[in-house]
Structure formats: C-alpha cells, structure tokens
C-alpha cells in the first residue's frame, strides 16, 4: 500500500453514552495518492463523520487510520495539529473563513501557523493561486465583502497553500448555485492534476460525484458501494 495516502482499518464510531448512535460500523478503505475521490451517501449515513476522522478532527471509537503510513491514533494533540496543518487541507460547505481578516490574510494563516514569517516564495505562490481562481483583484478585501462563490474559492486557495497531501472537502458546493458549483469542481480538478494532491470530496449530489475518479457510497455506517472509474 505504498501508493496509498489514506488507509482506514475497521473504523467504527459510536456517539452518545445513554442513547448510542452507531455512525460508522467498520469502514476499511484506502485512498490512492493523487486521486480525485467522492464519498456519497444520504444525510446521516456517516460520510461526514468519516471525513472528519480522516482529517484528524474526530477520533474513532474502534479501528484506526493511517495518513501517509502514520497511525493517527498514536499521535498526541500537538502532533495531530501539525498533521492537520501540514498534510491536510479542509474545504467546508460554509467556507469557514475568518471574518476578521482579508482574503490574502485568510489564505496565509495555515502557512503562518507553522512559519513565523511568510517567505516571498509563499507569498508569490498565494498570488498565483489567487490569480488561478480569478480573485487577485479582491485579495485585500475583507472576506465579508466577497460573494459566496468568491469566498469558497478563497477557501480552496487556503486549503492548497501548504501543498498538503490530501484535501478534504465536505459538501464544498452545497451552498452554491450550479454555475459556481461547476467553477469550483473544475478548479479542484485542476489543482488535483497540477499538484498531484489527493482530493476526498463528500457530496450527496450524484452528478458531482460522476466527475470524480472513484465513488465510495456509505450507507448506514458501512461501505455500500466502491466504484472506480477505469481510465
């Protein structure tokens, strides 16, 4: 499994103490490096729970996850924070940008978390990415002054800046119209190809899923279908 970037082993998640909800009932998947994947499923199927666990935001009740060959259950809080910062990029349905900062400042935050100073090279890379998403002219605007589609593009650039191994996107277009949905998917695809970053996209939109290389369907906490597109 050398070319795998994510491996999950008998992953289970139970929420609650008195009333227990078995969100994941034993998930074994591996995601290959540089691929573009979709996790689909109905609301409450456990797809977002799986994504949060891959992103080291949540911990499994049973089983474990390997990111780039390293087990996340063996890591302490600081190591997990470092993993999220360096190897993982997140794109959420609601962009989750910081309203106190401008577009360019938001983009640079993941880099600044691990580097006290922003190098000229990183700044240049941020500008290139902003140019690629057609937002170079808006970079100094406060994030609240941008439209929903523009905010989501800023969030994509933010996720890309540290050149992570994986980008986890939870319903990244759930809040956008069809035109912006297409723009966002095309951008993600482009960056997947250009930088070889692995994308795992959670969506309930089968049309969107059709555009990916692999579709994993989660149903009632289990993998119901795992379909890979042949080249």
């Amino acid at each position: 499994m050398v070319d795998s970037v994510v491996n999950t082993f008998a992953l289970e998640k139970i929420y609650g103490t008195s009333i227990k909800t078995h969100a994941l009932k034993g998930i074994d998947i591996n995601i290959k490096k540089g691929t573009f994947n979709a996790i689909i499923g109905q609301s409450g199927s456990g797809k977002s729970t799986l994504l949060n666990m891959i992103g080291a935001l949540d911990k499994p009740t049973k089983g474990y996850i390997e990111i780039d060959g390293e087990r996340t259950d063996k890591m302490n809080a600081k190591q997990l924070a470092e993993l999220r910062n360096k190897k993982i990029g997140f794109i959420f349905q609601f962009h989750y940008l910081l309203p106190e900062f401008s577009a360019i400042e938001n983009i640079l935050i993941p880099h600044r978390i691990s580097n006290p100073k922003v190098s000229g090279e990183t700044h240049q890379f941020a500008l290139e990415l902003l140019d690629a998403v057609n937002l170079k002219n808006e970079m100094n605007k406060n994030i609240t002054k941008l439209s929903g589609g523009q905010q989501q593009r800023v969030a994509i650039v933010r996720a890309l800046l540290n050149k992570p191994s994986i980008i986890l996107a939870d319903e990244p277009t759930g809040n956008l119209d069809s035109e912006n949905t297409e723009i966002i998917y095309k951008l993600m695809r482009r960056f997947n190809k250009k930088f070889g970053i692995t994308f795992i996209i959670v969506t309930h939109d089968r049309n969107v899923a059709q555009m990916t290389d692999r579709i994993i369907e989660i149903k009632d906490g289990l993998v119901n279908m795992d379909m890979e597109k042949t080249a």
């Binding site: 977002s48 949060n52 992103g55 935001l57 949540d58 809080a77 600081k78 924070a81 470092e82 993993l83 999220r84 910062n85 360096k86 993982i88 997140f90 959420f92 609601f94 989750y96 940008l97 910081l98 309203p99 106190e100 900062f101 935050i109 993941p110 600044r112 978390i113 691990s114 006290p116 933010r158 939870d170």
Partner: protein, 387 residues
C-alpha cells in the same frame, strides 16, 4: 506567538464596541483604585506632616526630672553623625507665670537658637507679626495668648519663674507667632536661649535636644541608633512613634481599609474581565474551531485569548491611570481649605502608579486564563459539525 498576538488584536478590533466596553470597565476600576490609593496616601502624609512634621521627631532628655544637659554641644555633634538625622537643635525650657494686673497665668518658657531650630519649627513661616527677639528682654508670644490677654507688639510683660522669685525686669513682645495649635499658641513663650540661660541661673545647659529624621516612619530605628551613639545612661531618647501609638494604629487602620477597598475594586474588575472574555470565547467559537482545523495547537489558542486579556489590561489600566490622575488634579485644584491650600495635598507617587498598572494588567491576564483554557480545550469537530 506573533500570529497569536495578531489574531488576538484582530478579534478585539473586529468587536470594537465590546472591546471599548471592557476597556472602559477596566479603566473605571483602575481610576477608582488610583484615586482612592493616592488620596489615602496624601491624606496620611498630610496627617503625619501636620501632626509631627513641624515638631521634633526624636528628643533626647535627661532621665531624671529637674536635670539639664550640660555638654549639649558635644552630644549634638555626636548625634549629627547618625544617618538619617537632620535639623538637630537644643532647647532650654522651664515653666513660668505671666503677671498681668496682679493675676498670674501659667506659661512655658522655651529658649531657642532660632536659626538652629528653624529647620524643625519653621519660625519664619509662623511669625505673623513683628520680629525675632534680638535683645535678652525680648520674647515671642502666640496668637491665642495675644488675643486672650490683649497683648500686642511692644506690650510690656512681667514674668515669675519658680523657684526664682519675681524677675525685676520687664519683657517686651517683639513678635507674635501662630503654630495653628491653640494650646501651643497660648502657653509657649519663646526667647533666645542665652536669655533664658541667664534667667534659669543653671549655666550654659539645654533641657532637651530635638531633631527630625529623613524618613519619618524610620524614627524608632534611628532613635535607637542615636542612643547607641551618645552612649549616656543619664539621657533618655524617645521618638514620635512611641509617643503616638494611637495615631499610628489609626493610620494603620486607614491603610488596611484603603488596601481592602483597592483589592475589592481590582477583584471586581478581574471578575468582569473573566466573564466578558468567557463570552468572547463563545463568540469566537467558530473562529477557534476553524483555526484548530487548520492546525493551530492548543498552546497558541490559549495565547490568543491570554493576549486579549493582556491588551485589554494594559489599555484599560493606562486610561484608568490617566483618568485617576486627572480626577486627583481636579480634586486638588478645586477642593481647597478656607486659606486657599489644597484640602489634601496629593503626591503622584510614580511607584504607586506603576504598581497599579502592573496589578491591573496582571489581574486582567490572570482573569483571561480560565476563558483561554476553555478556548484551548475546544473540540474543532463540534464547530464543524454544528456550523
């Protein structure tokens, strides 16, 4: 560290109204604390100054009543070598009667070297009319004695000094003083020391050696140093503190109550900051979750909110200090005694002000620890899941 500070700064800047409210809260607390603290200090200094400032703070007397210090010049020379002692002077004194139209009134004759004793008594400021005695038959009387018996400048008076009989000479009032103390003004009759030596017929002696000290509250320690230096069992050294135990305990009581008020004010400021910052953490719940998802660790998250407390504390305490000082300046300027002097003279002690700023800032930072820990412990997945 820099990022944590910048985020803290932006959080505060973004919520301008809330930030202004907290800073005003801290500033009001510090204003009250500085105002009360400095007012009490001024009041105490004023009480001490008016009680013992213009009098002897350490006295050396013969242990036995009726005795005199014969070698007072030598003793004074030794005393002047003690650290912290100033304005050493000698006085010769004994009771006398003032004879006015066949009635006698009890007075206390005190003989000074006026120049030497100026440091302690500030006679030149107290003399309200006339001049210092030059001739041996000249004397100064107090304002109240003058008013009571209708004595004026150049009035002639007779004195009887027990056990010496009626003095054949008459004395002339050369000046009138006002010590702002009716007992002293009524009983002390001041003359040149050599004039009194002649009347007393005891030779060149002193009844008491008086002095002041640089640090008024060190008088007891310096008094024992004086005792060590003069090494004379026939002489007793006493200081103002041992004679004014009640005043000291009143001053201590005042200090303690003033401190308590200040502590409660600062504590309430700290509690206010803690609760407002706790609300601020709730308000920034989403941002903390986002930052954690991006990989900020718990210690940096903690720092963000600690810095907020620090910034608020510094800003609030500096503004509070400025307000407190302005209020005191107004108080000093507008609240005056009938003779135009400030009711309470305030000294703007830089040490007290620095300590006030430091305490308020530290309290604000400590108050932010609890909310900061809460933020550090926040689970990002809760934010992500709940939006």
């Amino acid at each position: 560290m820099k990022l944590a500070f910048e985020i803290a700064w932006r959080f505060l800047k973004f919520s301008k109204k809330q930030t202004a409210l907290i800073i005003i809260g801290i500033a009001v607390g510090v204003t009250v604390q500085v105002f009360i603290g400095l007012l009490m200090q001024g009041l105490q200094a004023n009480i001490v100054q008016s009680t013992v400032g213009n009098s002897a703070q350490i006295t050396v007397k013969p242990s036995e009543t009726g005795k005199y210090i014969a070698n007072y010049d030598e003793v004074m020379k030794e005393i002047r070598t003690v650290d912290g002692v100033k304005n050493v002077s000698h006085v010769i004194e004994f009771p006398a009667f003032l004879r006015l139209s066949n009635s006698d009134y009890s007075v206390f004759l005190r003989g000074f070297d006026f120049e030497e004793a100026e440091g302690i008594y500030r006679f030149s400021e107290k003399l309200i009319s006339g001049n210092f005695p030059v001739e041996k038959n000249e004397l100064l009387i107090g304002k109240d004695l003058s008013d009571k018996y209708g004595l004026n400048l150049n009035s002639e008076i007779s004195l009887i000094v027990p056990p010496v009989v009626f003095l054949p000479r008459t004395f002339r009032v050369s000046g009138i003083y006002d010590f702002k103390n009716s007992t002293l003004n009524e009983t002390w009759v001041l003359m040149k020391d050599n004039a009194l030596v002649e009347i007393g017929l005891k030779g060149d002696v002193a009844s008491t050696i008086e002095m002041q000290v640089d640090e008024i509250f060190m008088a007891d320690k310096i008094s024992s140093d004086v005792k060590d230096v003069i090494k004379n069992d026939d002489l007793t050294v006493s200081d103002w503190k041992s004679k004014n135990a009640e005043l000291l305990s009143a001053l201590n009581g005042q200090t303690v109550s003033s401190l308590l008020i200040q502590v409660f004010v600062i504590a309430s400021v700290a509690i206010t900051i803690a609760s407002i910052l706790a609300v601020s953490v709730m308000n920034k719940y989403k941002q903390v979750g986002i930052l954690k998802a991006m990989g900020i660790d718990n210690s940096k998250t903690f720092l963000i909110f600690l810095f907020q407390g620090l910034i608020l504390g510094i800003a609030g305490s500096i503004i509070g200090m400025a307000l407190g000082v302005s209020l005191l300046v107004s108080f000093e300027t507008f609240v005056k005694t009938p003779d135009g002097q400030p009711l309470v003279p305030i000294s703007f002690d830089p040490l007290f002000l620095s300590i006030s700023i430091a305490i308020a800032t530290i309290s604000a930072s400590l108050a932010s620890i609890l909310p900061s820990r809460k933020a550090a412990k926040l689970d990002p997945v809760e934010v992500i899941k709940n939006g």
